[in-house]
Subunit: 288 residues, 4 copies
């Protein structure tokens, strides 16, 4: 049977390939998570189980998509970074962004009962939206990640102060808001410490720094290595020999995908993990 | 704390609003579903439970997103149609396509155990990719849907013949392929009937026609109504009065979301359901 | 010599094909024409020669690009309409928009001395920018053209009153501005008539209505023809037989390209010239 | 008079801002210049006057648009490079590409009679199309320019051999083509030298290398300067102080815009002219 009469409609699909040689960041965001927090009675300002569920989903995404070099999550959002040389799906934006968002959603839903055994899911289910953004330089990429981590810090300090004023100080929302209006970081630290004896520095790292997901290899000593950050400035995607590609693939599969809570703004994090920007797998860590 | 130093990276997000006054079709496709079928031992050529799980997920998507006027599914793909006047998310492509794909995935994963109680999910989990395409005219839109339904018919007839040759005829894959090479529809019907006593017309409608999902209102008699297909040719999104919008919303919520297996190529389907193209809810059916 | 080492840079060119089955409007705008008017001492509020030069350039563009069905110009801007079925340059946006803008510029510069024999051009030369916009329906397209013609009317009435107050009323710019602030159309008409004896209706049509450029065929009587505006709602570009395409091409070449000053907002203009929207050439007019 | 009824059509204009922090190359190409060469009897394989007219137009474009840091032309094409930090027209693609193409066309037409006093222009006039491409890194940008210059070399060597075989060797087109089929560069050099006594190296630089257009400042000694190519890797457009911006502007206006015929593939060209990639004007040359 001839299908050709209708097939012309395929011509309406418009190409959306992302500019080559740019870092691709896919950010997924929880849809209506304020409502979701209320519905399932999640803890304020941070629900440990909810964050760990996000991290588990992100870890699964990074594991399934080896083109992702690093991911960073805070609150109900997660950013996934594809290396600038990545050619996955011919860099088609909608294919990349939906694959990440769908895979993330799948693990989030599937793992929910592990993290919330007493809170069965019901419709409307949690879901996520996503977008892809291109960053031309390593500096732009790191500034993006720094932006998200600074945001994490600012929001978490505010929320910690806000909810402490309510939960321990007995204030209502309006009062808490008014008490914090116009305050600087040190003022909020001071309120927490002097009124409630809370040293913000002792709060859990996951709350203060968010979560970083990446493949783990042997750390590099920045002193003894002349590693320049993002030194792999190949203008053109390197076509690897087949055997080299196979080796890299195996190394990536052997590498553990970690979830940590580190400062990713300072150079140190990147200098010690050159594989994150070079796209060359590092040395597999010996088990200890 | 000043966040502004890094905030410039927001400027790299590029707008992706879809052209106004065009029908938006979001199609989601199962990723690597051939492997998935093998892994969970799904039936060939059609697994009824798998299709019903797809339909359940699609039904949930249509229920949650009232901007969707109709959806059509076949095999491991589903197409969702947003009315040309739809302004959801300011018509941002990535927001629309990820919301649909993520919501679909969420229900697919969540409902899996209902349809496959004996086949627990394990990593890698099922996931979907998606894309959005704009169609300027009602004819283009209907041709798109016809294209998918013709595809369903062609593929299902072929697959039915192919798997019958294997499962009942004792042929192997290569033989079955060779026997069907170059055959027309009537030849495949003849093979099924003369060799296996199978009348293709008696196959389940869901297999032959795919599945249509839409809100149910009282059908209209095309004879007595001067309904012209897609007659609502408003050039500009109509700004409704608030009370009218509220009324429409309530009607949509009251309407049942149906999953049926109908011919959507012929005019009759559309003439009897003018609300699908007009974006005005019909008359709520009286319960019987 | 191997060129391949550098050729990879071609991959950075991104496709920009415009959505099929939509009307393409390319609008060119004079760059810095306020300065240009001052530099060459053009007349206010309308310089007849300058407008006729614009029209001559537009006429040449329409003549050279038969895919253009109609053009409309006012002040230092011109809009060119390509039929929704047009496949010129595979509908690549930058190719279409630069071809129109460059051709327009070429004729504008070349013909300058014909219209301004006493004002030789000098650097910086006049130039134009351009953009392409897609309109899905005939209604959207006509609303676009109506928008430009209403704009022409509003601006010309204001400018006529403004410059009459200055040139004949002896007011300075600020006074003229103040006198017109908040006035309605009828107030401006009244000022022109009672203070200066000017009946705005008697102003030249070119100033009041702008200029329309199109191929001329025999007009159609809307009474005796059941012509429906934009009735040619073919969903898909019609592939013509070669001989039919040749016939159409010859007809188009024979047709005179007219510049007129007509109302293009009302239906009448379109009903009498069905070829503008149908993309089928009309009947060649007999010379009289 | 209310214009609002039609104004909604503005919403159909879609943003087309180019990715920040990328080099923008606008390439203009002559439309149908093979025909044009025949029509005006231009010399083969290179018409000096025609190339000089291209260069004059390019020089005018660079002079009028100080955001252009360098331009490169060969045959009937010219590439204009905007610095990655350039914010002209908010980096809107169609605005940038049409402005360059229109300005180029204006000067080409206007200056035609200077270069071809005996060949008056007639319709259809010469025109150009254009496109904009983004390159994320200095390496990509330089590879783009190298691509064009290598192309110039390959084509010019071939064309020189081809037309010498015809003009001096008495061969027809087919014979010349056959004689050159499969030859390497050294074979073509040998044919030119042994049969016609032509040393290709002595051909005019403009034919062999194409033309480079840029602002002239004092050259820098790569030995004594630690200038690293493209060292100005600012991630973010630097917001200059007003007085600094004024100073830069004046320097740019004082700088002469040169047309030269140099090797732009090797590092030397760039090392001696750091202002081309740094976007900081150099030291104004003392007149000699």
């Amino acid at each position: 049977m001839a299908n050709s009469k209708f097939e012309y409609v395929k011509a309406f699909e418009q190409p959306d390939n992302l500019l080559p040689n740019t870092w691709i960041v896919v950010r997924v965001d929880g849809r209506g998570f304020t409502k979701l927090c209320a519905k399932y009675g999640l803890e304020k300002p941070n629900d440990k189980a909810a964050l760990e569920l996000m991290n588990a989903a992100a870890r699964a995404v990074v594991t399934e998509l080896p083109d992702i070099t690093i991911a960073y999550g805070v609150s109900d959002e997660y950013s996934f970074v594809f290396h600038k040389n990545c050619l996955l799906f011919e860099r088609r934006a909608s294919k990349i962004v939906t694959t990440v968002t769908s895979t993330f959603t799948a693990y989030y839903i599937h793992n929910w009962s592990t993290y919330f055994p007493d809170k069965p899911l019901s419709a409307p289910l949690p879901s996520f939206d996503g977008r892809a953004v291109c960053y031309p330089s390593v500096d732009n990429l790191r500034d993006y990640l720094s932006w998200r981590q600074v945001d994490c810090h600012i929001n978490n300090l505010y929320n910690t102060a806000f909810w402490t004023l309510i939960q321990q100080g007995g204030h209502d929302n309006n009062e808490a808001e008014r008490l914090l209006a116009g305050t600087l970081a040190k003022d909020k630290n001071e309120i927490l410490f002097s009124r409630f004896g809370i040293n913000y520095n002792n709060e859990p790292e996951m709350f203060k720094k968010g979560s970083v997901v990446f493949r783990d290899y042997e750390l590099v000593d920045p002193e003894t290595h002349s590693s320049e950050i993002g030194a792999d400035n190949t203008a053109q995607p390197v076509v690897q020999s087949k055997s080299q590609a196979e080796k890299d693939k195996k190394k990536r599969q052997k590498a553990r995908v970690l979830v940590e809570h580190l400062d990713i703004i300072k150079d140190d994090f990147w200098l010690r993990r050159p594989w994150l920007l070079s796209n060359k797998p590092g040395k597999i860590r010996k088990e200890t």
